[in-house]
Amino acid sequence: MDSIAENSASNELPLVCWLEDCRKDSIPLVGGKCSSLGELINAGIRVPPGFAVTTEGYRRFMAKAGVGREIQSLLNGLDIQNMNNLEEVSETIREMIENLTFSTEMEDLIAEHYRKLSVRCCLPATPVAVRSSATAEDLPGASFAGQQDTYLWIRGTDEVLHHIRRCISSLYTGRAIAYRANQNFDDEHMAISVGVQKMANSFTSGVMFTLNPANGDRSLIVIDSNFGFGESVVSGEVTPDNFVVNKVTLDILERTISKKELYYTVDTKTQTSQAIELPPERQQVQSLVDDEITALAWMGKKIEKHYGRPMDIEWAVDKDLPIGGNIFILQARPETVWSDKEKPVTTDAGATAMDYILSSMLRGKKLM
């Protein structure tokens, strides 16, 4: 697959692009989240398919609308200490952005990508997640872009377009405006990308570490899982099932099946995920079967190999897709707790086998 840079022969940057065309170095164009997803796809990892409205698309949208100047004038002279004022201005700007229309070219591009995505998912108007993908260099402090600018279970072209605009407008939350003002950050150099990705219809989901978070043992993979969406696991609302897998051999070493009282599923009416009590007979059922555990661990191993370091991964088993093609990776980040620790070296430099045998004999083997 060609990367975006190679694709755009005439120096012209794409306005919309598929996730599989994104790479590690695509962050300025599609932000951290989308470039990392592209990276995973290209490493051979199954990720829910999707596309990104690029930062170039964002700039084109803002330029065409000509709202830049108007926003500037609203922001000029704004007293960011005045919370009421700040929220009022934020609301005005966001409303302004959300009511803008895309150019016909952009609209067609997005609609076309959405249609193709639906075909790929074998669904008429596939439900998607629309979320902002921040260009980390421009926006220090990851929390900055806000966490609420993720919209789930969005269906239909109009809804998709609308939520892309909402993601863009999230650049102008009161908090974001204040932050930039404090940092003396120039709004003109600011950019955002928006990812549109098939909703994983999770039967089971959770997180996976490619080391043992308890002791840093890199020969293990540890998986937490529960039925439904990952929220219940990530938020800690339930004690998830826990599986420990040998990274080298992919043997499942431990299975701890917990009592899982609730899970998250979609409410199709409100298009939001909501917590529901798990029927008692399912509460102590293993939420991830052995074959899935092994397949998932295999993916984890592959992801770690690709990034060359231990990883923290979000994953899901999709309800709609057949076994063998139903396990998806939603997100992969470098593991930081153990990886950033200074590792004690077990042996002294230049120690021979003899030295080690001697020093170990002197220490002995702990019995108690």
Partner: protein, 609 residues
């Protein structure tokens, strides 16, 4: 962890005076305060690996042999800094052992340079020294094989006079017995020449890898040193060769026609190519059928050469497999490929360059020592011992002839110094022309000892006695008996259960990975493996190389004793079968026919009740 005091263990009623069946220094005693304190403060554990049954007085020879040999190499030859030897005791016929630590840090420091120089020399020159070992050991075995046990004639041959020999058969008999014993003790000297260091290399490689990967299963470490050709598989390979040869020569149906070797020989002889096959069989017997049906430590462990029905069973199993089109070879290439993959992957996960270097060095040392650690078993425990037990039976025949014992197998109830004494009684009486005094001394004593042994058998030996230390530094203790906090706690837990029929789960060492379900077959000895059905799970006290044919039939293996380097563990890894070893009590709790689930990765046996 506290275990019963060794001085609290009571005699079994009716066995009072049993101590005279063993050397006096084996008794736990309270009359010497210093010795009493040492015994109370030490940690004694039952050596069930070598002595699944109470020890017969004569068989104490090998216990004394290794009491001396292991300890001298540890303490007086290589001077392992923090540990002296391994102390021994016997209680109600069962052997308890205890590693003796060096407590004074300054003394440990003084021992270090000696250890580095001496052990270092062996590690550095391992292969060359091992080659010398083989020559020495084979020469010792040859001497044993050639040793004649003379009968006492009515009248010495005329040549004694004409050649002016100047010695009688009476003297020769005494000397032959002394030589026999001395050869045995010598072979056991060689037994430990390399073994302590071999185990140390292995133990601390394991320790190093576990420091890198705290949760690595031990079996993954042993897998890194698998796939190396060792003699242990040779006897089994000979059976496979004979099975193929039988099919090639068209004698296979005659071989599978009966389980009795004599009948099979007759049937094979009658066939055109029968003699050729029998010649191959005869050739394979020396030395490869000198393989004991047990550990070789007990006189009861007969070799294939003593009972040709056992290898016959193996040959028949392989013929059947071959005819079904099953590949009977161990998948060595596959094992090596998997070994190399696993080794490389773990190595890649090691963070620092120095640690990777140490890993490489320790791995290479472990692979160097591994063949010895396995091969010595064939030379000493199997080959030497099998011939040795035969020679002692020849001595027994003479004692029987002169009325000191009623049956050849009665000799095992005598200590080896009592036999020497008895032989003096025999030769002096023979020379003088009178009746030996022992004819009225030994038969009643032996009858009493038989009763005592029966009571010993029925007694359940506690897993450990005394006070468990915080750390164990003695390499044998760590590897062979798998004494860890966990295993002892697990054993203790099972002992605490009042109703063994309620136990649904047993824990042991995860020795070879894989999960299977199946029916149990409890086999207490190699003879019982003829009852094994295809696809059953073998449950046994321990296994030895002569059990090899069993592994072609079974789905998985569970043993009472043994660590991840025990025979069952190694063979199962080579055959890709799940194994759980060192469960402590599997043969007592599991009954033939029970449905089991074996998880060779976690070491858990689940019993379906």
């Amino acid at each position: 962890m506290k275990f019963p005091s060794p001085h609290e263990i009571k005699d079994i009623p009716g066995t009072e005076g049993w101590e005279r069946m063993y050397p006096y220094q084996y008794k736990f005693s309270t009359d010497d305060p210093e010795r009493k304190a040492h015994e109370e403060e030490s940690f004694w554990f039952y050596d069930g690996l070598h002595y699944p049954e109470p020890l017969y007085p004569f068989d104490t020879i090998w216990d004394e042999a290794w009491y001396l040999a292991l300890s001298q190499f540890n303490n007086r030859i290589f001077q392992i800094p923090p540990v002296r030897g391994v102390d021994h005791r016997i209680i109600n016929g069962y052997v308890y052992i205890s590693p003796v630590a060096v407590k004074d840090p300054e003394e440990i420091g003084r021992r270090v340079p000696n250890f580095m120089e001496r052990a270092g020399y062996y590690y550095k020159n391992w292969d060359a020294l091992e080659a010398k070992w083989k020559v020495k050991t084979e020469a010792t075995i040859k001497e044993l094989e050639e040793l004649q046990i003379p009968h006492l004639p009515e009248l010495e041959e005329l040549s004694v006079v004409t050649d002016a020999v100047g010695e009688s058969k009476g003297y020769h008999l005494i000397k032959a017995y002394d030589d026999l014993i001395n050869l045995g003790i010598k072979c056991w000297q060689y037994h430990f020449e390399f073994l302590n260091l071999g185990y140390a290399a292995y133990v601390f490689f394991l320790d190093f890898v576990q420091k890198q990967f705290p949760s690595i299963p031990q079996q993954r470490v042993t897998q890194m040193i698998s796939g190396i050709d060792v003699i242990m598989f040779r006897s089994d390979d000979e059976l496979k060769k004979l099975a193929k040869k039988a099919i090639d020569l068209g004698v296979d149906e005659a071989i599978t026609s009966s389980q009795e070797w004599l009948e099979v020989t007759a049937a094979v002889k009658a066939l055109p190519n029968g003699q050729e096959w029998l010649a191959c069989h005869e050739e394979a017997r020396y030395p490869w059928f000198y393989i004991s049906s047990g550990t070789g430590w007990s006189h009861k462990d007969r070799s294939w050469n003593d009972d040709l029905n056992i290898p016959l069973m193996g040959i028949a199993t392989y013929i059947k497999k071959l005819k079904e089109g099953v590949d009977i070879e161990r998948p060595l290439e596959q094992i090596r490929a998997e070994r190399d993959r696993i080794t490389a992957e773990y190595r890649d996960l090691i963070e620092s360059e120095e640690d990777r270097k140490t890993f490489d060095e320790l791995l290479s040392t472990s692979r160097t020592v591994f063949p010895y650690v396995e091969n010595h078993l064939f030379y000493i425990e199997h080959w030497f011992h099998s011939v040795f037990w035969g020679k002692i039976r020849e001595v027994a025949a003479i004692m029987k002839e002169h009325g000191l014992i009623e049956d050849i197998e009665d000799i095992w109830y005598l200590r080896r110094d009592e036999i020497k004494q008895g032989l003096w009684d025999v030769v002096t009486a023979w020379a003088t022309g009178v009746k030996p005094r022992g004819t009225s001394v030994w038969p009643p004593e032996i009858a009493w000892r038989k009763g005592v042994m029966e009571k010993f058998h029925a007694w359940s030996a506690p897993a450990a006695l005394g006070t468990a230390p915080e750390v164990i530094q003695e390499p044998f203790t760590i590897v062979l008996w798998g004494v860890t906090n966990n295993s002892l706690a697990d054993w203790a837990a099972v002992q605490d259960v009042s109703d063994p029929d309620s136990i649904t789960e047993l824990k042991g060492f995860a020795a070879s990975p894989g999960i299977v379900e199946g029916r149990a077959r409890v086999c207490r000895s190699a003879n019982e493996i003829r009852d094994l059905q295809e696809g059953e799970i073998l449950v046994s006290p321990t296994t030895s190389p002569s059990w090899a044919p069993a592994f072609a039939k079974i789905k998985a293996c569970v043993t009472d004793v043994g660590g991840v380097m025990s025979h069952a563990a190694i063979v199962c890894r080579e055959y890709g079968l799940p194994a759980i070893v060192g469960t402590g009590h599997a043969t007592k709790i599991i009954k033939t026919g029970m449905k089991l689930r074996i998880d060779g990765s976690s070491g858990i046996v689940t019993i379906e009740r």
